[in-house]
């Protein structure tokens, strides 16, 4: 009978092989679509690789795309670790950007640049926390489903930033911009430093520091230990004296703060203003994919974010091809990668038992087992 069997222990190579295969399968599916729309998949993929990974500047841009994904990936990771499902990183990122740009504009030139940047980072994190506060409290005390609350708040946040820039004469909007509304530029001092002539900015360093910090928190602190217990079982956590409600709130706030930092990084390092068009490109949702593909490992978040960053970055490059490959191919690949990765999760945990493989489904047959 065709069936699945639980693997008793998972060989290490599986963890590498499965995501690689997921990506290859996603590329294969993408190829089918490309063929149907009259493009040569090999050319398209070659262009994508060249654009994102094969040149210094291309790779630098990939890193720029990866920067917010690392942070939103971590945001998803910390909440998923305790089986809290914050899928509102998208909205928390927007509000983080609102707060970061707001503080930078308020401070103006009254503080030295480094202080302004620090304030922006703090404000970004604060904004993300603020925006998840209500879902967090509702979850901790009323057991309100955080998936729904955080998801709905994403729309609220999107409408809010659009309103700030396009729908009102707010503090964030550039009063000089007439026909085409846009955000007010933050002062030059508040720009994140860049690395050489590339667009790689301080945000990447912050994201990498965040990875190290999260790793440390998870593995070396009481807070991380409590997260681990709570992630295993709430009842065990209560038994062990973990203040469960406070932990739920704290973890969600941490998650929101990381997403908010990603918003601050976009403002300070990339668009230099509150720019809905630059923010609303699904970086928060992509964080969920990053966390899932990284199997909730902080270290792997970096690699996965760079891979997805490359795919996203290449999307832009594709448009410059003579035959104008639609940019959406990048979005589609991202989705396909997630689906295949989730699907292949089954193969990590289970082994397929084919109809034609006979005998007992065990490493050793009963006879062998008995002989030992």
């Amino acid at each position: 009978m065709l069936g699945l069997e639980r693997r008793s222990d998972v060989p290490a190579w599986i963890y590498v092989a499965v995501p690689v295969i997921a990506v290859l399968l996603a590329l294969a599916v993408g190829a089918v679509f490309l063929v149907f729309t009259g493009h040569d998949p090999l050319t398209v993929y070659r262009v994508m690789i060249q654009a994102s990974f094969a040149s210094t500047f291309g790779f630098a841009d990939t890193l720029v795309s990866a920067t917010p994904l690392i942070l939103t990936g971590l945001a998803a990771l910390v909440s998923f670790r305790v089986k809290l499902w914050n899928i509102g990183a998208e909205g928390q990122l927007y509000i983080g950007a609102v707060c970061a740009s707001g503080i930078a504009l308020l401070i103006g030139e009254s503080l030295p640049g480094w202080a302004n940047i620090l304030m922006m980072l703090a404000a970004g994190a604060f904004g993300g926390m603020l925006f998840i506060l209500i879902p967090a409290i509702a979850r901790a005390w009323l057991r309100t489903n955080e998936i729904i609350t955080t998801l709905l708040l994403n729309s609220v946040a999107l409408l809010f930033i659009n309103w700030l820039i396009f729908g009102s004469r707010s503090f964030w909007r550039d009063p000089a911009a007439g026909q085409f509304p846009q955000g007010l530029r933050i002062p030059d001092e508040a720009y994140f430093p860049r690395w050489g002539a590339t667009r790689v900015h301080l945000g990447l360093v912050i994201a990498l520091l965040a990875v190290v910090a999260i790793w440390f928190v998870l593995n070396r602190t009481r807070f991380g230990f409590r997260m681990k217990i709570l992630g295993d079982s709430e009842s065990a956590a209560r038994y062990a004296g973990v203040p469960v409600r406070l932990m739920v709130v704290a973890v969600l706030l941490l998650s929101g703060a990381l997403a908010g930092l990603a918003g601050a990084a976009d403002v300070g390092g990339f668009s230099r203003r509150l720019d809905p068009n630059s923010l609303a490109i699904g970086m928060g949702y992509a964080g969920i994919i990053v966390a899932a593909l990284s199997r909730l490992n902080p270290g792997s978040v970096i690699l996965v974010a760079i891979m997805l960053g490359g795919v996203r970055n290449a999307g832009t490059a594709l448009q410059s091809l003579p035959e104008r490959v639609p940019m959406e191919i990048a979005v589609m690949l991202e989705g396909a990668i997630l689906l295949f990765a989730l699907g292949s999760e089954v193969l990590v945990r289970y082994r397929i038992h084919w109809p034609w493989s006979k005998g007992p489904a065990l490493d050793a047959s009963p006879e062998e087992a008995e002989a030992t």
Partner: protein, 511 residues
């Protein structure tokens, strides 16, 4: 309408006929990493009560599931009346007259007894004929001594009653062979006696009854034939008439065991745990407490007997400070710790909860981590010390695990419980609250756990032992309290405890 086999009208039995009715030959069943059944032979005859005895994990349930079509054997053959058959599903097994009552019931709580009985019977027309089903239920329950009301809603019934519904359900489908998987684990002594009468009536009617259990006394008193399983294989097959508890225990474990923990003469000291007029009234807590007062003294084991759901869980959790009672106080060593678990621990209390996995232990964590679960920690952890601690405790408590970083869930049941006990006892408590500390363990591990508790008692620790296993309560306790509907309804010294009296008290009929 397609039917899978010849239809059995309700209550039909085939009179005593050719033996054996069911034979299993060379059954192998493996799960990844586990050989659950290895070369198992079993022979069931009409009119006999055949006990399947074995420690937990011996493979009893697996064998029963193979015989009832739930699992397909990897190798081996099942014969019915001498003819080989393949049972592809429980439905097919039922069609062949083989039914099973599982450890976990499979009833629809919102349905009535009659509806549950009729459920899954494909001979029923789409609109079932309620009077017919009712009549059959009444008839069967009278014939086999299984008092159930056909129109009662199953969710309102006690566990014992639900079990009767399960049995009626299989009888209604006309089984000739009935397998009961650990049926007494949820019953009071009186209910157990009633079940035994039913089992005897079914056997007298020519049915083959397989009675699965790990309790030696029970098996001896009900079975005609006893097949003992160990490690997935058959350890022996004996006639109940010429065997003994000792022999059976030895077959089960593979060596001599000592089940009575050494009890010294009780010189109880200071009060170490005191519950003072405690009430808990919360439905979600599975049971309530009603103005309950009790004490545990140093060097004494107080056993709480009772049918599960009569307040055991809130009693344990209130004592451990995990839930705040609606009224009353809890004191450990004289200190008020009501509703404050960490204060209770600081005052010298250890708690071994009933749910090891999921409450007492976080099973996806490592052994070393679980050994630290209830300790107070600084903000930064000293993991190096954790693994030295773990190694020491693993040695001291004989925890068989590859190492401190092994995932706890991969250990065997006995070793999992040892991890929990090691942590709780290493805290050097003055009072231990232990809820069902040996439930589901194999004989070897039960022996170990009991010795540990007895040894602590010797050293002057007070123990509050909450268990549904009356034998265990009687073997370990100095004093026995019977808990019924949240109140202590009976109290006696363990030496002069009387099973009948205890059983009556447990059923709420105490003096």
């Amino acid at each position: 309408m397609p039917t899978t086999a010849d239809d059995h009208p309700a209550g039909t039995t085939n009179g005593p006929g050719r033996d054996p009715v069911v034979e299993a030959h060379g059954i192998y069943k493996t799960f990844p990493g586990v050989v659950a059944n290895a070369d198992v032979d079993l022979r069931l005859e009409r009119g006999e009560v055949h006990a399947l005895l074995g420690e937990n994990g011996a493979g009893k349930s697996t064998l029963a599931s193979v015989l009832t079509g739930l699992y397909q054997p990897d190798a081996g053959e099942i014969r019915l009346d001498g003819r080989p058959v393949v049972l592809r599903s429980p439905r097919e097994a039922l069609a062949h007259g083989i039914g099973m009552v599982h450890q976990h019931f499979k009833l629809v709580k919102r349905f009535t007894v009659a509806e549950n009985v009729a459920l899954g019977d494909r001979t029923q027309p789409i609109l079932m004929s309620a009077p017919d089903v009712h009549r059959s239920v009444v008839e069967l329950s009278e014939r086999y001594g299984l008092p159930v009301r056909p129109d009662a809603v199953v969710g309102d019934l006690t566990v014992g009653e639900q079990q009767r519904v399960e049995i009626v359900k299989t009888l209604y489908r006309g089984v000739d062979v009935l397998l009961l998987d650990e049926p007494t684990s949820v019953l009071t002594p009186q209910e157990t006696e009633a079940l035994f009468d039913t089992v005897r009536a079914m056997a007298a009617d020519g049915k083959a009854v397989v009675f699965i259990s790990h309790k030696l006394h029970e098996v001896l008193s009900i079975a005609d034939t006893i097949t003992v399983m160990r490690d997935g294989g058959i350890a022996g097959n004996v006639d109940a008439a010429d065997t003994s508890v000792r022999e059976l225990a030895q077959l089960m474990v593979g060596r001599e065991v000592m089940m009575e923990a050494p009890g010294g003469d009780g010189q109880a000291g200071e009060v170490v745990l005191e519950l003072d007029d405690v009430s808990v009234d919360e439905r979600s807590r599975r049971g309530r407490l009603d103005q309950l007062s009790m004490t545990v003294r140093a060097g004494e084991v107080v056993g709480i007997a009772g049918v599960s759901g009569n307040g055991q869980r809130p009693l344990a959790e209130v004592a451990a400070g995990l839930i705040e009672p609606d009224r009353g106080r809890v004191r450990v060593n004289g200190r008020d710790v009501t509703g404050r678990p960490r204060a209770a621990r600081k005052a010298g209390l250890s708690y071994v909860p009933e749910d090891r996995i999921g409450t007492g232990l976080a099973s996806s964590l490592s052994v070393a981590e679980n050994l630290q679960l209830t300790r107070a920690h600084r903000p930064l952890l000293d993991r190096g010390r954790w693994s030295t601690d773990a190694r020491r405790l693993m040695e001291e408590f004989d925890i068989r695990a590859p190492g401190p970083s092994t995932t706890t869930s991969s250990l065997s049941g006995g070793n999992i419980q040892k991890v929990l006990l090691a942590r709780e006892l290493a805290a050097d408590p003055d009072v231990i609250v232990a809820a069902s500390p040996t439930r589901g363990l194999d004989v070897g591990a039960i022996e170990f756990v009991r010795q540990l508790l007895a040894q602590r008692r010797e050293q002057g620790c007070g123990v509050l032992l909450i268990s549904e296993d009356l034998d265990e309560i009687r073997a370990l306790s100095d004093r026995i309290l019977v808990l019924y509907e949240g109140r202590i309804v009976h109290e006696c010294a363990a030496e002069d405890s009387d099973v009948t009296e205890l059983g009556l008290a447990m059923a709420g009929a105490g003096s």
